[in-house]
């Protein structure tokens, strides 16, 4: 039984994960303390979303241990896993709202399914959560009628409904206008502080993210390339991070898809 420190909310030790014989994560060691907001960044397909899947128990690592609140997640039985998931909230990339329910019912869903609270109390709680994300008056709209930013805010309200201890965000800023990005960023920080949560954000958006997180974990080739504070990201010399931060087309992540030499292919006719 691996030991864990009281303040460690999430701990991954020597985690390896492959999908259909393709190795994705290759020995990940990561510790996240209670109350921290950390960002996970890296190239596409680099294993960022996989990490979220491992933490939430949707994926099982080939080797290594995944500890959340001291529990060894891959070893949990279905009922225990569900018990743990009541304490974990997840915001999916495009919200994943239930399209057949309106905004109110979407946020009420966790209460109705997981608790025996009377309807009046649920109504109060739902309105509270919706007010926190600024969408209380949109409660009767259907998800199809919401803009991307609004849908994601509703999904956020739904995800924090049961006041989870851990929040996982899968690319929360992708595809949003700058205003919505700012709103979501502010909400993530405020909720994390207000509810005493630990948040893990998988993202590509450097600017917004660097403003809110305590640490940035950069993945490359299935390993943790760097684990540093946001200020260091801006000033570092590391070529991989530089290419990322400055948006350079070529660098450690090559521009050209690997293949034959250009001139010889042209000459082949």
């Amino acid at each position: 039984m691996t030991s864990f420190h009281e303040s460690e909310m999430i701990a991954l030790k020597d985690v390896c994960f492959s999908y259909a014989d393709r190795p994705i994560l290759n020995g990940i060691d990561l510790t996240i303390k209670r109350g921290e907001i950390i960002a996970i960044m890296g190239g596409s397909g680099g294993g960022k979303t996989t990490l979220l899947g491992l933490i939430s128990g949707r994926l099982k690592p080939q080797t290594g241990s995944v500890l959340v609140k001291g529990l060894e997640v891959p070893n949990l039985r279905q009922s225990e896993l569900y018990g743990l998931r009541r304490k974990i909230g997840m915001l999916f990339q495009f919200g994943a709202l239930f399209t057949d329910l309106n905004v109110f019912d979407n946020v009420a869903f966790p209460y109705r399914e997981q608790t025996n609270l009377p309807e009046e109390m649920i109504r109060t709680l739902v309105l509270l959560k919706l007010e926190a994300v600024g969408l209380r008056s949109a409660k009767n709209l259907m998800p199809a009628e919401l803009s991307g930013g609004m849908a994601r805010r509703v999904a956020l309200a739904r995800a924090v409904a049961l006041d989870p201890a851990v929040m996982l965000y899968d690319e929360p800023f992708t595809g949003l206008d700058p205003i919505s990005v700012g709103i979501i960023g502010r909400l993530i920080k405020r909720l994390n502080r207000a509810l005493g949560m630990t948040s893990v954000i998988v993202t590509h958006d450097l600017n917004e993210t660097l403003r809110l997180v305590d640490r940035v974990v950069v993945l490359s080739q299935g390993k943790i390339h760097r684990d540093m504070a946001p200020e260091e990201i801006r000033s570092t010399d590391d070529p991989f991070i530089r290419q990322f931060a400055d948006g350079l087309p070529d660098g450690p992540v090559p521009f050209h898809y690997p293949g034959r030499d250009y001139w010889s292919e042209l000459m082949d006719q």
């Binding site: 939430s56 949707r58 569900y82 998931r85 974990i88 990339q93 994943a96 399914e113 997981q114």
Partner: protein, 265 residues
């Protein structure tokens, strides 16, 4: 030459193993579904919602089809029977054909095309938009909340729809046979009642429709659940539901008919 022969054999082998793999997957899925049924049955409003979308919405197509099928049976049946002077047996022929076979089978095929394909698309889309994953993350089992109610709704709706089909068919045949062609109304009904047995014919027909409902229900939720999360994936899954459901219904019909009606004459 030899290489392509080896390729052929391995392709053939792969064809069969992949089919058997999928069958195994379906069996495991069915097992998980069975386990979730106990929870789903405790939440009947969810099932009734699906009965509305699958069953009630299929009512019009089933009733109208039944009416037309009954009418066609009357026309064709009369054409043959009157050659032997047995036109009065029209009621019997039509009723038995409908109650024993056409009612359960055609209803199941119509249901597969209309309601089941919609269920597959719906579940496939829920998977593609991560709604099932979100539910799972909120510690709500998608099997009992989404899949099982739709499965149960198919089993529940089918017998009612088959009965409605057969009834519409008999009425259609009556309209053509008695009202238009002029067969004796009394003979139409009395011959029918004398020769259609509630236990052997009507009940067995309803039993068939329950079996079909189970098969079609299972196939539609399975294909939707494992659909690839792309537009193409959902389209493929939907067509698979209709094709496999239809073939299964026809195969099961053969087996059930032999079991139920073989020893009658």
């Amino acid at each position: 030459m030899r290489a392509s022969f080896v390729q052929l054999i391995s392709a053939l082998g792969h064809f069969f193993t992949s089919r058997i793999d999928r069958l195994g997957l379906a069996a495991r899925f069915a097992g998980a579904l069975l386990v979730s049924l106990s929870i789903a049955l405790g939440r009947l409003p969810l099932m009734f919602r699906e009965v509305y979308f699958s069953g009630v919405r299929s009512l019009s197509i089933v009733a109208v089809s039944g009416l037309f099928v009954g009418m066609v049976l009357a026309v064709q049946g009369y054409e043959v029977l009157q050659r032997y002077g047995s036109a009065e047996s029209l009621g019997v022929i039509v009723a038995l054909s409908l109650v024993r076979e056409l009612g359960p089978v055609v209803t199941a095929l119509l249901f597969a095309g209309r309601a089941s394909s919609a269920v597959t698309a719906e579940i496939g889309l829920m998977r593609a938009t991560e709604q099932l994953a979100a539910m799972d993350m909120m510690a709500v089992d998608p099997m009992s909340r989404v899949v099982a109610p739709r499965f149960l709704a198919a089993i529940f709706s089918m017998p009612f729809l088959a009965a409605i089909f057969s009834t519409a068919g008999v009425i259609g045949a009556w309209i053509i046979g008695v009202k238009l062609i002029g067969i004796d109304d009394g003979a139409f009904w009395s011959q029918m009642q004398a020769n259609v047995d509630v236990r052997i014919d009507v009940l067995n027909g309803l039993l068939k429709s329950i079996v079909f409902g189970t098969a079609v229900g299972l196939i539609s939720v399975f294909e939707g659940y494992f659909a690839a999360p792309t537009a193409e994936g959902i389209a493929t899954a939907t067509t698979r539901t209709v094709v496999i459901s239809s073939l299964s219904v026809l195969l099961l019909d053969l087996l059930l008919t032999v079991m139920m009606f073989r020893g009658l004459s």
